[in-house]
C-alpha cells in the first residue's frame, strides 16, 4: 500500500488496559491474545511531590520511570487494538494520564489468593469512570470461588461483569475481551449518569 498517498488513511488504533496487582498474570494475559510477543517500553512520568520539603528551584516535582508491557491485535486492516498492561509494581501509574486517557475500557485481573491486590485498580477505574470487567485468573492450587463471591468481596456494582479466566489460554482470554466489549456496548445503549 502506498502510504505516501495522504488519502490512504492510517489504521485506527484503540486501547484497552489490563490491570491488577503485581504477578497476577497481566503479561501472560496480553501474550496469550496478542499477535506479537508482548513488547516493553518505558515512559517518564512527572508528579508533584506532596508534603515534602523541596529544594529551591526544583519546584516540588519528581519523575518516575514506569515500564509497561503491551500487545497488539489487528482486528481488521483498518483497526488495531492495543492491550496495555498497567505497571503492577509501581503505585505511580495512577498519575500517568496518558495511559488511561482514551482507553475504551479495562480488564482487572484478580488472583483469589490476594484479592486485595486489585483494590487499587478497581478504585481507580471507578473514580475515572472507565468501564471494566473483573476476570479471576484461576491459578492452580488456589481455592475456587463463585463469581458472586468475588463480586461481594470486591464490593462491585451489580452491572460490572465478573468472569473466570485462565490467562494462559488464548480462547478464555479472548472471551474475557469479548465480555468487556459487550459490557461497553451495553453502556452506549443506556444514558449513563456522568
Amino acid at each position: 500500500m502506498a502510504y505516501n498517498d495522504v488519502s490512504n488513511p492510517l489504521p485506527t488504533a484503540v486501547k484497552l488496559l489490563v490491570a491488577g496487582g503485581f504477578g497476577v498474570g497481566k503479561t501472560t494475559f496480553i501474550g496469550s491474545v496478542s499477535e506479537i510477543e508482548p513488547l516493553t517500553t518505558e515512559e517518564l512520568i512527572t508528579e508533584a511531590s506532596i508534603g515534602i520539603d523541596s529544594l529551591d528551584g526544583v519546584a516540588g516535582k519528581t519523575t518516575t520511570t514506569v515500564a509497561f508491557d503491551f500487545g497488539r491485535i489487528t482486528v481488521n486492516p483498518g483497526l488495531v487494538l492495543y492491550l496495555f498492561g498497567t505497571p503492577g509494581q509501581d503505585r505511580f501509574w495512577f498519575m500517568w494520564d496518558e495511559l488511561s486517557t482514551g482507553a475504551l475500557g479495562a480488564v482487572v485481573l484478580a488472583d483469589t489468593r490476594r484479592l486485595e491486590a486489585c483494590f487499587a485498580a478497581v478504585d481507580f477505574f471507578e473514580s475515572r469512570g472507565i468501564k471494566f470487567v473483573v476476570a479471576v485468573n484461576e491459578f492452580d492450587g488456589a481455592f475456587r470461588y463463585e463469581a458472586e463471591e468475588i463480586r461481594a468481596a470486591l464490593d462491585l456494582k451489580p452491572h460490572v461483569p465478573v468472569s473466570l479466566c485462565d490467562a494462559r489460554d488464548p480462547r478464555l482470554s479472548t472471551s474475557t475481551l469479548v465480555t468487556l466489549i459487550k459490557h461497553l456496548l451495553e453502556a452506549t445503549m443506556v444514558p449513563s449518569p456522568r
Partner: protein, 124 residues
C-alpha cells in the same frame, strides 16, 4: 546504512551504547504532539540527508503502519525520546502520523465497538 531496527548502537550484553537522551540531543519535547497510540508510517519520500542513525533506525521501523509505543519498544528507547525522533521525521516529510481520535458520539463509539466485537468473536 542498515534500515533494520535491531543492530547499530545496540550491544547484546551492555544494551544501548549511547545514552537515550543523547539520541535526541537532550530534547524531551517533540515539535509535534504524539501519543503512545499515534500511528506512524514511512512516506517513502522526504529529505532526510541530515538525520542521525537513530532517525534512520526509527524510519526503518515505520515501513508498515505502527504505533509510537511499538517503535519505542523496538528501538529500546523511552517513549518520550522516540516521540522526538518521530516528530523530526514528520517535520522532514519522511513519516506521516495520525493521532487517535476519540469517538465523537455514542453512535460512532458503538460502530467502533461493534467492529471490535466482530473481530474478536471471529478469533474464538
Amino acid at each position: 546504512m542498515s534500515m533494520r531496527g535491531d543492530d547499530s548502537w545496540l550491544d547484546g550484553d551492555s544494551g544501548r551504547l549511547v545514552r537515550p537522551y543523547a539520541v535526541a540531543n537532550g530534547r524531551t519535547s517533540a515539535t509535534l504532539r504524539l501519543d503512545l497510540l499515534s500511528m506512524v508510517v514511512a512516506t517513502g519520500t522526504g529529505s532526510y540527508g541530515n538525520l542521525e542513525p537513530d532517525h534512520m533506525q526509527a524510519l526503518g521501523l515505520c515501513l508498515r503502519p505502527a504505533s509510537v509505543a511499538e517503535i519505542a519498544a523496538r528501538l529500546r528507547l523511552p517513549a518520550v525520546v522516540t516521540k522526538v525522533l518521530l516528530s523530526d521525521l514528520v517535520d522532514c516529510g519522511a513519516v506521516r502520523a495520525a493521532s487517535p481520535e476519540p469517538a465523537t458520539s455514542d453512535a460512532s463509539e458503538r460502530v467502533l465497538l461493534e467492529r471490535l466485537l466482530d473481530g474478536l468473536q471471529r478469533r474464538l
